[in-house]
Symmetry: none
Subunit: 141 residues, 4 copies
Amino acid sequence: MLETVNIHSDVAVYAQIENHVQFAIAAGDLQAGDQLPSVRELSERLQVNPNTVAKAYRDLEVMGLVYTRRGMGVFINKNVNASCRETVWKRIIGRLHEVVSEAKAAGVPLKDVREVVSASYGEGGDPYADTPLNLLALAKK
Amino acid sequence: MLETVNIHSDVAVYAQIENHVQFAIAAGDLQAGDQLPSVRELSERLQVNPNTVAKAYRDLEVMGLVYTRRGMGVFINKNVNASCRETVWKRIIGRLHEVVSEAKAAGVPLKDVREVVSASYGEGGDPYADTPLNLLALAKK
Amino acid sequence: MLETVNIHSDVAVYAQIENHVQFAIAAGDLQAGDQLPSVRELSERLQVNPNTVAKAYRDLEVMGLVYTRRGMGVFINKNVNASCRETVWKRIIGRLHEVVSEAKAAGVPLKDVREVVSASYGEGGDPYADTPLNLLALAKK
Amino acid sequence: MLETVNIHSDVAVYAQIENHVQFAIAAGDLQAGDQLPSVRELSERLQVNPNTVAKAYRDLEVMGLVYTRRGMGVFINKNVNASCRETVWKRIIGRLHEVVSEAKAAGVPLKDVREVVSASYGEGGDPYADTPLNLLALAKK
DNA sequence: GTGGTCTAGACCACC
DNA sequence: GTGGTCTAGACCACG
């Protein structure tokens, strides 16, 4: 249940926020009509500048995942669960294909690849373990 | 036989060059004593700034993979094949772990992951198909 | 017979209400002495904050289109039909000029512009079809 | 040949920049491979903050109209002329339809509408007269 | 209270 | 030189 953002990651903070929201929508943890935490609140919790959160929210709106009600807040759009899941999956599958192809080209034995897959996927515990913040917890609070 | 660099990629041009050299060394396609194309030549072929190629070569030298003979050119070091392969493998394994963990977090069934792995690894064809430039071809020319 | 406000629109909710009242007055659908729905009632019907409706009514009063009788409600003023129509027309003409100029700048052929005008003006049907709420219906109820 | 942005307009500065680029692409004045003025240069000319220009450029990249080459600048994408023109036209036609429908509903005579159209479209002079800045001039400089 | 916009200025990576 | 990111803080419109 991390509520922090990884400042030292190579992925931008605003991108981490966007990714987390996308994941949560794809997983069905954020549903149509749910309100995201306010820019100010989230920025305080994550210890980042409000503008950074606002940028993430704005991007999500451009992507069509959320909408803004002036003076009210930011909300999850309707009918985004399926499309969002598709988008997320496609991106992941694409990267998976890429890295596996590279592994083959580099001569990594298929056996080793399978082993890593099993080990990485088999790890128990929090499904959000690899994402740096748990926006869901904030939204549902 | 790509001889181009992907300028639309999100990975820096110099990094693409470095990666490709590392890859070729790990695969044994570039061996001790082999000469890399000159900065000028490669920069012209790839349509990139000479400084970019120079930076890549400099980085590779810092990594200990190549050495420079003033006035002669840049050459592959001895005994770098094994260490280079280890580096490349580690990086690939790391990314593999990352993407598989993400796949799990996003709810992609393990079955689908395995399927993609099989499909991607099983594909025949040019081992360089997924890398944007074929430095090997230039070096061996 | 829309009785809703478009919360996804880029025009403010209070402005949508004001516009609709102006429109209805200009069209003669709301006449001198007619009573507007109460703030509470309208806010409930439209599912918006009462402050929003109150602001719209206040603005309309400032414009001189309506007057408030304390404890009684809000009523349409006398002799506002003509001036209101002028206001509405001017606004429409202004926007029309704007969009046509843009069309020209963008290279839309005059022929196409005229065609759209004919098609749009020629369309029959509910004159309120393009306005998001039918305040008239509420007022006359 | 305005090279200024309208600070007091109701449309955001960054949006004015975006619109102008879209218009220029749609009109064929900015073509594939053309470089936009640098963020810093344009911000100086327009007397706005570099971040404002950067925001516009970033949005244009998200829209797929331009791409960024690190350290090099921002360039027009391929195959955007047609799609951009379609987008721009659709937006204009949509607004035209909207305003004409409103005009009809408000009782503006068709004759008057046609007259305004002729007057607005017939105006001679710079096709960019209604857009607040001439980015083209900067880009082609 | 909410988000939107803009400014000023910093630091970074890349070319 | 280029753009990308983030911070700090201001002002505004909206509800």
